[in-house]
Structure formats: structure tokens, C-alpha cells
Symmetry: C2
Subunit: 384 residues, 2 copies
């Protein structure tokens, strides 16, 4: 497979965009990414989205968006892997450009969740879980994660307050990101007095939904080598699945699909986890941030909260995470999130992460999770 | 890109499978394809599906199905392009194997439509059209196609009965296909007395929905060359989009996306349309069969009904279409249809199309259409 680079990025703020349709939102991100890449056209479009069929009564986003952004006749499809849809679409774009099938591609993630009734969105989101075995019991997604967090606290002896660092770090970073849904720092007191959602997950452990879109432009490195420097290259990309139902896992406190995909990506990049300068992980809930850090080799099993407690996850720490706010503060427009993460890693590697720049960031990683750990995509980017 | 071959196929009958869930249906097709390929495992799974989020309250089919068929931990995603989802998933599988990213892949199309209320399915299917501009007017999919057919009849001077050959041929062929939803030939009298659905489209002009799954196994040709003969190779594969709303097309009676993708595929294969031995086209409605024949170069503009009238579309004719029943008789489980078509072309090229075998078939083509012509994928296979 040919080496592939990211030459343009674009995003909308994650927000309540009641005045913008799916195509308008996606169009803003795409046109911004294409302008950044100085391209007027591309050969293919890959859309990451989870909920448009149920929440927006609109499927077929590939053709819909391609036409809207002036790419009529261009190949365009949607890829869905629950909340892992964004990075899955990225992998489809990477395969298309890497294989030589096309010479350029746009990957866009888009989701529009806030102008549907909340109960409908909760129900639609739950379709990422196992309808026959989990939904049937009335389990929502936050309930599933609450069960996992409770077990984790029991097993490893952590208190609820030991997780506060994940939320505080995310909000502190999001305060510097003009595209974040919440641009305000929180205190430990805010964390502790926030209302319970599904015990032990309170409002500050849970990422907010939102409307938003992020996009990036991919081209083969061979077309760039002489002119572009620095360049953001994709040096690792892998995906793995697991049992979709949490009760089907061999160990509900271990993200096997994260471990597998991260190891593959490390191996492709010829690195180990200690060489990663920033890690945009999938902090849909605090517990998922902890499990991701452990499965990817940044903390021992059951020990990730220590990284948060010791301040190692800040932009100045050993393992900076959620550097632009993460899912918690930037927001979690589900099918778009994976693309936001890769866009944010690119910002860091380019030195454009104003306010939360990680110094001399050269290797960045994104981990996008579909379901409660059942479809996990690792992406490693390097500044060359 | 490496050359890729199809080494295994599997399918369920298209039917009302009320006793089988999505994963069970998909599993039957996949395990049958893997048995046919003599493989116990593959490196990746690509699922074509359109409606599971709304009709079955189950998204995330990649991980769901991978685990069910014993491929836990394997990369797996869903691809959606309305009724073009099946062939779009096939293209994702082709890119993954062709790029060298994986050494083998299963592509499966699956759809389960008959145990949801009919009105809900009609509404879900309509989400393949433009929600803001077409659905808003109350247009269903059959209504959109009726407008196109009426205009075609007006423009080129055809009567409704001139289309009967498409339906009669499909049902005659489907009678020989044990996987077809309708395995019974029809007469011209059946055609004429069938009830009107949306004038001028009557019941015999419209394909039936259904539950079903089809699958195939892809591997690089280089791993086969010494041992396998004959071999079914993918020699052409391309996709193109168009305005999702019919009123947005420059010409609503011309499938530009079919013309573009077919021309690209012909060029990749180094052939023209006259060399195609069988053509599995997307006869969701009789009018779509006619438009596909014209856009792909098998008939002059406005003249496709003549091929049906002259009997040229039968397995013994010049342009055999719907040789295993087509969407009309085999059935149209929307997101699975594109995979059924490629499986059927493979059967023909292998000489396994009992009852409707096209003699010495060497080059076969499949055309899968998403929406009313807005996402069209052409696949050309060759027996080597």
C-alpha cells in the first residue's frame, strides 16, 4: 500500500446547529478541509455517520453530500461502525488512496443529534449495543458503561473522585478550542456536585451529544515529497472488533479490540506506546478513558486513574489526552467523533493547537471506539 | 492495486425469514461462502446493509456479525449507499484486499424487511431519496420511479405493455433459482391484470422486498495462480454518484452515474459492452432495467424496451439480464441486492446457473443502483 498523507483539515464547532441540515454541516467541514489542502476537487468521498437514518430520516449521505459540495459524479459512500464510524470512514479513505484506486479522497464525519427528541436519540444510540441481548433488557449506553465503571471501581479499589482528573483535564483543554461544545474549565467541586446519570456515572463523567462535522483530505505521499514540509503522514492504522454485548467479553474490564488494533498500529509505525506524544482517546465516559489508556499500554491494568491523579494526562504531562477537549468537552457527535480526533492530532503535529499545544509533538495517536468497546480503530500520525 | 479473485459464494433464499435475526441470516450466507472457498477464517468483513438501524433497531452490524460467525477481533464495518450498499461493501472489500491491507475478506449483504410494518419500511426506504426536497412532498420510491417511467413513455412513445418482457424474463429465470423469492413463471396476461401500484408502475413492474443475505470471499489472485482454474477475477470495478433528487439531474431519463461507472469498468477490463456475456442489472422497476441498458451502452437512448420485445434479454439472447430472476423475481432485500448480483454473475461464469446457464459465459457484469440512480456501482468479472 502506498504511503498516505493528510494535507487538509476542517471542522465545525460541535453545538446545537438547528439551522443547518446534515449536508450543510458536512459541507462546511469539507470545503474548509479542501481550502486548507488547496484542492478544488477530489476523487472520492467517505462519510462517517451513525444515526442519520433514524434521527434525520436521511440515508444515502454519500451521494447527498458529494452533490452538495460540488463533487457530483464522484464515488461516495457512508461507513457505519456505531461511534467508531468516523475512523472507519478514515480507514476506507486510506484504503482507497493507498491502494491506488484513487489519487485523493475526502473523509468527513457528520452527525446531527440535537433536534430530535432526547428519548429517540437515546434509543437510537442504544442500537450500537446488542438489540437481542442488551437492548431487550432496557439497557441504555450510559447504563452499560455504568456497570463497567462500577465493576472497575470494585475490582481495583478506586473511588468515584479518583476519576475527576479525566473530566477536569478535558474541560481545561476544551476551553482553548473554538470548535469545542463546552469551552469552559471546571473545578473538582463542579465534578462532585454534578447530577448522577447512571450511578456511578455523573454528568461530568459523560460526554455530551452534539451536531457537528469534521473532514480531512488524503493524498499519496509520493505526490508531495518534493514540495511539502512538514508533512503529516499516516504511519499506523488498524481496526479490531470484539463481542458487541459486554457480557460476551472474556473480560469486561479489558478492551481487547483496543489492544489488538493499537499493537498492529505500533508495529506498522515501528514504535511503542512510550514514543506517542499525544493520544486522542475515546472518553465517551471517564471509565472508557481509563480502559483505553490501559489496553494501549500507557498504564498497567487497573491503574489508569493514577495517571489522571498525577496530572500526567495534561498537555504538559507524560501522556497528554483529550488535548482539544476530548469527547467530554469538544463533544461527541457520534459518527463524526473519529474524524474530529484525527483532525485534532493533525493540529497538534502541525503546531496549531493554540492554548494546549504539546511541545515538539511528532507522533500522535487517535483511538475511536464503536459500541462499548466492540469496534476499535487506532490511527497513528507522524510529522515528517 | 493487486488483482483480486472471488473464491467462494453463498446465499440464503430471499423470503420472509421471520424466524431468523440479522446475524443468523448473514451467518448462513457467510459460512456457506467460506465453506465454498474452503477457508475457516478471513482478515476482514465488510457488510452491506441499508435499513437495520430503523427497521431492526440494530446498528453496528460489522462487529455483531463478525462475532457471530467466529471472526471475533477481525476488522468489520458496514457500508451504506441505499440500495447500492451491497456493491459498495464489495468495493470496500476489494480495496482492502487489493491494497494489500488484508490477505482475505468476506463481503456480505444482509437485509431484513418483512417483519416490520409495511408503512415503516416504505418510509425507511424513502430515506434513500432527498429528505428535504423529495420526502417532504410525500414521494415514496415507487412514486419517484413512476414519474420517471411516465416521462420515458411520453418521450419515446412506448406503451405500458412494451415493458412486459422485463418482468416475464425475470420470472421465467427466477423459476429456476432455488434462492429466488418467486420461483414461478408469469404470462403476459399475469402482467396485464396485476394491480396498479403507482401509475404506470403495476405490481409486475415492481420488485418485491424480502429478507436475505448473500456473501462472497475475496483473495489476491497472486495467492491462487498456480492451483486454481478456472478462476473468477474482478477485472472492472467503479462507482459514481449523481444528484440524489431526481429533479436535480440534468436529464432524469439518463443514468449518468451508470454511464460513468460502466465506462470506467469497461476501460479497466479493456473491453466494450458488446463483449459482456451476462448483465445482472438493477431492475428494481422495469423502467430502471431500461435506463440501465441504455446508460451502459446495450441500447440506444429510449430504445431499451425493444431488446425486451425482441427477446434479446433472455439467457439465449444477445444481452441476458436478470438471469437468476433479477430484483423482480429473486427479490430485493435492498442492502443485500448488490452482493446477490455479484454472486449470481459468479455462478454464471462458473457454469453453475442451472436452468438459465448462459453458454460459454466468460465476462459478466453487475450494476447496482442506490436511490433512483444517484449511486451506481459497476462490477465486471471474468473467468480466467
Amino acid at each position: 500500500m502506498r504511503e498516505v498523507a493528510i494535507i487538509g483539515i476542517g471542522q465545525t464547532r460541535v453545538d446545537e446547529h438547528w439551522d443547518k441540515s446534515l449536508r450543510v454541516l458536512a459541507g462546511e467541514a469539507i470545503l474548509s478541509a479542501m481550502a486548507d489542502a488547496k484542492r478544488e476537487s477530489v476523487d472520492a468521498l467517505f462519510v462517517g455517520n451513525m444515526l442519520s437514518g433514524s434521527a434525520n430520516h436521511q440515508q444515502h449521505l454519500g451521494a447527498l453530500i458529494a452533490d452538495w459540495v460540488g463533487l457530483r459524479y464522484t464515488e461516495a459512500v457512508k461507513i457505519e461502525a456505531a461511534c467508531g464510524s468516523g475512523a472507519s470512514a478514515f480507514r476506507a479513505g486510506l484504503a482507497a488512496v493507498g491502494s491506488g484506486d484513487v489519487e485523493s479522497a475526502v473523509v468527513v464525519g457528520v452527525e446531527k443529534m440535537t433536534d430530535s427528541p432526547g428519548a429517540e436519540i437515546t434509543s437510537s444510540l442504544a442500537s450500537a449495543a446488542d438489540a437481542d441481548w442488551e437492548l431487550e433488557q432496557g439497557l441504555s449506553f450510559v447504563a452499560l458503561n455504568a456497570l463497567v465503571m462500577r465493576r472497575y471501581m470494585h475490582e481495583f479499589g478506586w473511588k468515584h473522585s479518583d476519576f475527576e482528573g479525566f473530566s477536569i483535564n478535558a474541560h481545561a483543554n476544551g476551553a482553548h478550542n473554538p470548535y469545542a461544545r463546552f469551552q469552559e474549565a471546571i473545578t473538582d467541586s463542579d465534578y462532585h456536585k454534578s447530577p448522577m446519570v447512571a450511578d456511578p456515572i455523573n454528568l461530568m463523567d459523560a460526554s455530551p451529544i452534539g451536531d457537528g462535522s469534521a473532514a480531512l483530505v488524503l493524498v499519496p505521499v509520493e505526490t508531495l515529497k518534493k514540495t511539502n514540509s512538514p508533512m503529516i503522514m499516516i504511519v499506523g492504522s488498524a481496526a479490531a472488533t470484539d463481542s458487541i454485548a459486554v457480557h460476551g467479553r472474556f473480560d469486561p474490564l479489558w478492551l481487547s479490540a483496543a489492544e489488538i488494533s493499537a499493537k498492529q498500529a505500533y508495529s506498522q509505525a515501528g514504535i511503542d506506546s512510550t514514543m506517542i506524544d499525544i493520544f486522542e482517546l475515546h472518553d465517551a465516559f471517564s471509565i472508557m478513558a481509563a480502559l483505553a489508556l490501559e489496553a494501549c499500554g500507557f498504564a498497567d491494568r487497573g491503574q489508569a486513574p493514577r495517571l489522571a491523579i498525577e496530572g500526567q494526562i495534561s498537555p504538559q504531562g507524560r501522556v497528554p489526552i483529550a488535548t482539544r477537549g476530548g469527547l467530554k468537552a469538544r463533544g461527541h457527535p457520534v459518527g463524526a467523533t473519529g474524524v474530529y480526533q484525527i483532525v485534532e492530532v493533525t493540529q497538534q503535529l502541525r503546531g496549531e493547537a493554540e492554548g494546549t499545544q504539546v511541545e515538539n509533538a511528532r507522533l500522535g495517536m487517535a483511538l475511536n471506539i464503536g459500541g462499548s468497546g466492540s469496534n476499535i480503530i487506532t490511527t497513528i500520525l507522524q510529522r515528517i
